[in-house]
Every structure is written in structure tokens, then in C-alpha cells.
């Protein structure tokens, strides 16, 4: 969801690899063959990602808006709402979450320092909203993995 390279950059990369292979003289060495196989892998993964990304983004947005709605008085949560609602892709949701979690984390750290000199291991003492967002992010990663593992249909190959 929080992707560094855009879809069009990956498509262009696959094409560039194919062109390089087509222009090479002689049989491919191990490296060149590995490049082609990696390009194939990117194409499969990208097809799976594109198939699932709209549904995954809608799920993530819905879960996060439900979560922040439980803290209507929290200014950090309130500030995140319009950003999450307006996000057009996972990267924009990620940016909103980074800011929100940084605020919640800072507040959590202040609270723990105030109440105990020994910082607890794990997020057990984290505020409820932060813990809930953690759970959503954990579930998001699992859903994204499941989506990427799905085989694209109608790809012209059963392998």
C-alpha cells in the first residue's frame, strides 16, 4: 500500500528489460536470464496488486475512519480524517498515518515517563487509538500479502 514505485514506472521497467534482452547478442548469461525472470515476476505481482488495490484501499480507509471516529475529541485524529478521506492511494494514507501515529506516540511516551520510569516492552500501554491503528496495519499487511499471492487470471499462461 505504501509503495515507492508507481505502477507506470514498473510497467516501463518491464519493457526496458525486455528491450535490453532483445538487443543482446548471443545467449543470455545467468545475470541476463535473472533479469528476465525478475521482470516476469514483477509483471505477475503488479497484475495481482492492480486487481486488488481499489478494494484494499477502500477497506483500509473504512477501518481507519472507524478507528479515528472513536476519538472525536482528539485533535490529531480529527486532523487525520480529511486526509484519509481525500487520499487517492495508499501512499497518501500512509503519510496521514505517519503524522497521526507520531503525535499519538509522543503523547504515549510523555504519559509513560510520567507514570513509570521503566518503559514497558510492547505496545500494551499505548493509547487505545494507537493500538487499534496497529491492528489495522497488521491486518492490512496480511491482506496485501494475500492479494499479491493470488494468481492473475487470463494471463496467457498457467505457470
Amino acid at each position: 500500500m505504501f509503495n515507492a514505485l508507481r505502477t507506470e514506472q514498473l510497467i516501463a521497467g518491464i519493457g526496458a528489460t525486455a528491450r535490453t534482452a532483445a538487443g543482446a547478442a548471443g545467449p543470455p548469461d545467468e545475470y541476463a536470464r535473472g533479469q528476465l525472470l525478475s521482470a516476469y515476476s514483477v509483471s505477475r505481482l503488479l497484475a495481482a496488486e492492480v486487481s486488488a488495490e481499489a478494494a484494499l484501499l477502500a477497506w483500509l480507509r473504512g477501518e481507519l475512519l472507524d478507528a479515528v471516529a472513536t476519538a472525536p475529541e482528539d485533535p490529531a485524529a480529527a486532523a487525520a480524517v480529511p486526509r484519509i478521506e481525500a487520499a487517492t492511494d495508499g501512499a497518501e494514507v500512509g503519510a496521514a498515518l505517519v503524522d497521526l501515529l507520531a503525535e499519538l506516540r509522543a503523547r504515549d511516551t510523555e504519559e509513560r515517563v510520567r507514570t513509570s520510569p521503566r518503559i514497558a516492552r510492547s505496545s500494551a500501554n499505548a493509547p487505545e487509538l494507537r493500538t487499534r491503528i496497529h491492528a489495522i496495519l497488521r491486518e492490512m499487511a496480511q491482506r496485501e500479502l494475500a492479494a499479491l499471492a493470488a494468481r492473475p487470471q487470463g494471463s496467457g499462461s498457467s505457470r
Binding site: A4, T20, G26, P27, D29, S38, A39, L137
Partner: protein, 345 residues
């Protein structure tokens, strides 16, 4: 061996020149095979076969090249020196044969040559290689034993022998190094990574005696042949630091072949976790604290974000054409899942 007609004459000539300069090849030596191998992200790797009638006949070398678009800003000369130090240690590593530091070489960057040890590199993201390791675990365990003993041997090397070769970093120094690279290259904001850095610093472990740390110790960076581990390679991330980093990085599901689906059920795709911990404890005399190991597993995941993020950044800027850098973008969801699990989310 490759078709000699396909051998790049400039690369072959450069390799021979370097071998002769360190008296590792005679005047009549000729390169009879030279191919670029598949592996190597921060280094390009070449298999170079030399026929030398004045020596032992056919000799097999590996060329390690630091390309301009390396995903790691590490010194190839340092890696060469580590191999030299290891020649006197009970760590299975290849003998090196000369280093060319110039960036302007036919290989496209500085390079060194080392002997090609018997055995093959395994790719735990491929099912047949995982099955080979699972078969070893089920019967014999030669690879599993060598793998743990190899790590213990690395951690037994006296750090002072490498004091002038590799950098020493404490816990915060190591975290800071990867965080700095992440901030330099990160192209999108990642809330899981940000939370993980905070969690790691909140849970700083008590320090232990610094040791030589490989920094990328996994079976895929070792050679395996005849049911044994024959060599440990890829030392560009070595440092003097907390040896528990190697245990943690190995414990990361990624190191067991996890990609978008689960990898091997064995730790590091090699051995049962209890067995591995016990063997390591017996070999080193140091107890394994799993909570600290898991902390270092999380740091290992963050290291991968930084390294692969560097590759993505180079690719996005058009400074690398290696499609594997683009492919690595799909590693990140699994690393986020690993981090979520390790942090108890």
C-alpha cells in the same frame, strides 16, 4: 564454463593482469570462461575460469565488482581485507587473489578476485532449494550444523584483528545508520517503519561484548555442496558490534524464504529454532535471549527497508537498470507483516 568466443576480452585481460600482479597466474594463463552470475545486489559477481599450464591447470575464480549503482555504499576494499583476515581463522571463506580499487575498469567498477569454492549458492525463495535444506534437516543435518558453527566461528574472531578494517557500532549507532539511509532514500512515508524505529529504541537491550558481526548472515549468502556448508560469502555489511544481530536477522521470516507466501518452517530455512539456539549456546557459551533476538530481527527488517529502498531510489531516478531493484518493492508487505508480528501488534 562459457563459450570462449563469448568472453569479453577486456574483462578477461583485466582479470589476468590482476592475477599475475599477485603471482596467482603464470605468463601462459588464459581465461577460458567468464560469465556474470545471477546473484549479487550490491556487488556484481563473475565466474572466471583460467587455464594455466604453468600452475595447476584449470583454476576457478570469482570476481566481485562494486558497480556504480550499488544498493550499498560500502567499500569493496574493506570487504577484500576482511577476506584476508579470515584466511587465518576457522571461518570457511574463500582466499582472495588481488584487488583493483580503480572505478574505471572493464568490469564497471572496482573489483577483486577470489577462489571459487566448491558448492552452490541457495535461493530460499525457490522451493527446490528450501526442500534441499529441509531434507538436510530431516536427515544428516550437516548443513544445519555447519551453518550454526559458522556463525559461532565468526563471533569467535577476535575483534581487534579487524579493528583497522571494519567499523565498530553499538546498538544506537547501528539503528542510526539504517535510519539515516531510510530517511535519505525513502520515497513514501511508511507508518509501520516509523513505529518500528520508535519501538526498537524504546527497547534497547543491555549491551554485550562486541564481536565480529557478519551483518547479512543467511544460508543464501553461504555455499552448500555435498551436504555441507562450504563457505560464507558477502561480507560487505560486516562490523564490530552486537553478535545477536546475526541471530536476529537469521530469525526473520524473510531469511527463511518468506515472500508473499510463507517460506520454510525452519528458522533461516535451515533448522528448528530450539535446536539452533542450543547449538549456538553450546558453541559460544553465550545464552540466547529470544526477546533480544526478536528485537534484532526487527532491526534486520528495517535494514532491508533501507537497502532495498536505496535500490528503489536508484531505479526511480534512472541510475540503475537492475529490474530486481523494482521487484524488491514487493518484499515490503512481508517485512511489514514481520514487523507487526515482532512488535506484538
Amino acid at each position: 564454463m562459457s563459450d570462449t568466443a563469448a568472453i569479453d576480452p577486456a574483462k578477461a585481460s583485466a582479470a589476468l593482469e590482476l592475477l599475475r600482479a599477485v603471482d596467482s597466474a603464470g605468463p601462459r594463463a588464459a581465461v577460458v570462461g567468464l560469465t556474470q552470475m545471477e546473484g549479487g545486489w550490491s556487488r556484481h559477481t563473475y565466474a572466471i575460469d583460467v587455464e594455466d599450464p604453468d600452475r595447476e591447470g584449470l583454476r576457478r575464480f570469482i570476481g566481485r565488482v562494486r558497480p556504480e549503482d550499488s544498493v550499498l555504499d560500502t567499500d569493496l576494499g574493506q570487504e577484500f581485507e576482511i577476506y584476508r583476515v579470515l584466511e587465518g581463522e576457522p571461518v570457511p571463506a574463500p582466499r582472495v587473489h588481488g584487488y583493483e580499487p580503480s572505478a574505471d575498469t572493464p568490469f564497471g567498477g572496482p573489483y577483486f578476485l577470489m577462489e571459487r569454492l566448491p558448492g552452490d549458492g541457495l535461493n530460499v525463495w525457490r522451493r527446490p532449494d528450501r526442500e534441499l535444506l529441509e531434507a538436510d534437516w530431516a536427515a544428516g543435518r550437516g548443513i544445519a550444523e555447519d551453518f550454526v558453527d559458522g556463525m559461532a566461528a565468526i563471533h569467535a574472531v577476535a575483534p581487534e584483528k579487524l579493528a583497522d578494517v571494519v567499523v565498530a557500532r553499538d546498538f544506537r549507532g547501528t539503528v542510526g545508520r539504517w535510519r539515516e539511509i531510510y530517511e535519505e532514500v525513502h520515497l513514501v512515508a511508511d507508518p509501520v517503519v516509523e513505529e518500528a524505529y520508535a519501538w526498537i529504541l524504546d527497547n534497547e537491550p543491555e549491551p554485550v561484548e562486541p564481536r565480529l558481526v557478519h551483518g547479512d548472515y543467511r544460508i543464501g549468502n553461504c555455499l552448500v555442496g555435498g551436504g555441507r556448508m562450504t563457505g560464507v560469502l558477502d561480507w560487505e555489511l560486516a562490523s564490530i558490534g552486537d553478535p545477536r544481530f546475526d541471530l536476529g536477522y537469521m530469525a526473520l521470516p524473510y531469511s527463511s524464504g518468506r515472500f508473499v507466501t510463507a517460506g520454510s518452517p525452519l528458522l533461516g530455512a535451515v533448522a528448528d529454532r530450539d535446536w539452533l539456539d542450543q547449538r549456538y549456546e553450546a558453541a559460544t557459551g553465550r545464552p540466547v535471549d529470544r526477546s533480544v533476538v526478536d528485537l534484532y530481527a526487527a532491526l534486520g527488517a528495517l535494514m532491508l527497508f533501507s537497502i532495498m529502498g536505496t535500490g528503489l531510489s536508484l531505479y526511480a531516478k534512472g541510475e540503475s537498470s537492475d529490474i530486481r531493484s523494482a521487484w524488491s518493492r514487493f518484499v515490503f508487505p512481508g517485512l511489514r507483516a514481520d514487523l507487526a508480528q515482532l512488535m506484538g501488534w
